[in-house]
Amino acid sequence: MATPVRSSGAEGLRPTPGDLVLILLVAAAAVALLFALRPHGGTEALTVRVTVDGETVAEYALADYTEAVQVAVDGVSWPLVLELSADGVRVAESDCPGGDCLRTDAIHSAGEQIICLPNKLIVSLEGASNAPASDIDAVAG
């Protein structure tokens, strides 16, 4: 049986044990880098942030509210009461003109907001992933 002919070029392409070690090391480093630099996610508890005209006036960790609790918001022009529960937050009472915030449904997920224009108030739900993954930059209308 004739010995297969092998060119010198083919000899050069054949991986050595050292190459295999290098491949494993670089792949491991790349995967470690990928995990280290990825956007943080997870199931962190939700926090309610209340801002009035850009200033944070209150923060509440929803996990602390196993039963629904109503809290008045300080620093607003028209009295406003929030209802906090482990499930989410809503505006329970508001004396603001128009009452749009009162008609807004409760919010439950990170990235959702309730706005009260007359009070310049924003109620935001924040969590590990502050906004759900989306290919949309804004909603018009």
Binding site: G12, L13, P15, T16, G18, D19, V21, L22, I23, V26, A27, A29, A30, V31, L33, L34, A36, L37, R38, P39, D53, G54, P97, G98, D100, I115, L117, P118, K120, I122, D135, I136, D137, A138, V139, A140, G141
Partner: protein, 350 residues
Amino acid sequence: MKLNRTTPLLILLTVLLAGCSGAAQPESASRELFAMDTLMSLQISGPDGQEALDAAVTELQRLDALLDRNEPDSDLSRLNAAAGSGTPVALEEATLDVLEEALLCSADSGGAFDCTIAPVMDAWGFGGSGDNYRVPGDEELAALLPLVDSSALLVDRDAGTAQLTQAHMEVDLGGIAKGYAADSLTALLAEYEVSGALLDLGSSTMAALGERPGGGAWRIALRDPADAEQRLGVLSLQDQSLSTSGSYERYFTQDGVTYHHILDPETGYPAETGILSVTVVGENAALADAWSTALFVLGEDKALELWKSRDDFDYILCCFDGRVLVTEGLEDCFAFEGDAYGYTCEILRR
């Protein structure tokens, strides 16, 4: 350890995996603020992002202070207070700019857009903070309609003044001021090293400049006027502005009848033209802002006529009967999704 032809592959693998992390996103600065009676959101990317953002916020607050007719010391309040006095009022250049653009839109739309409609808006309660809605009587409206007259608003650029020639007239710039602000910010950002910006001036008016972070056109969903949780489609915009007017934005119900805030300057009543919403896209945000109101008032046929006579805007019109009409200039950048909710899409051509 010797290097051979597998080495470039390893380097490529490393680069690709590291690239997946998104670690190389451009610097981006963002802020929400209340101005012009709405919540605005600014997002600016690029080496000068934060500096440009600070300048943009300052400019928005300056324009808000000039153009708010509910603020006693504003340019607009001083103009309105002097109505019928015969005395021209000295105004800032920006105020004169907006007034001139408003007059131009009024003339070009045949009066469908008219910034002197304020007295009629107030009669309905649409001019204030939203707690005084009411249906004015026919006689009351008939008495107010003569005050809706753009020809009685005189602007003198050389003198830097304007005046309303009839007593009790008032100007409201709610239909154009946010668009003008978007144009001003666009010009301002050109002075900075900025790769992209999304200026969301209250959802109804937006300017999409340059590229979104990560590259490509900005992707802006268009809400279904019948349900805020649904969308008619997605617009991909780059260096363009949009403005939307819809009957769902501000309204009240009395005796089982719903009255919305887009008033017909000719009748004084909410415009009922079979339209739920109009979105106008163009390079000039002030024009887009004013045209979205005007097209809503004009209705489907006149809107088409107007579009055919001009080349500076396109539109998406959502009708009561479920048709979504899209002018051909937006055919390639609007991804229609309304079929999921019973809408049909038609492309309008010149």
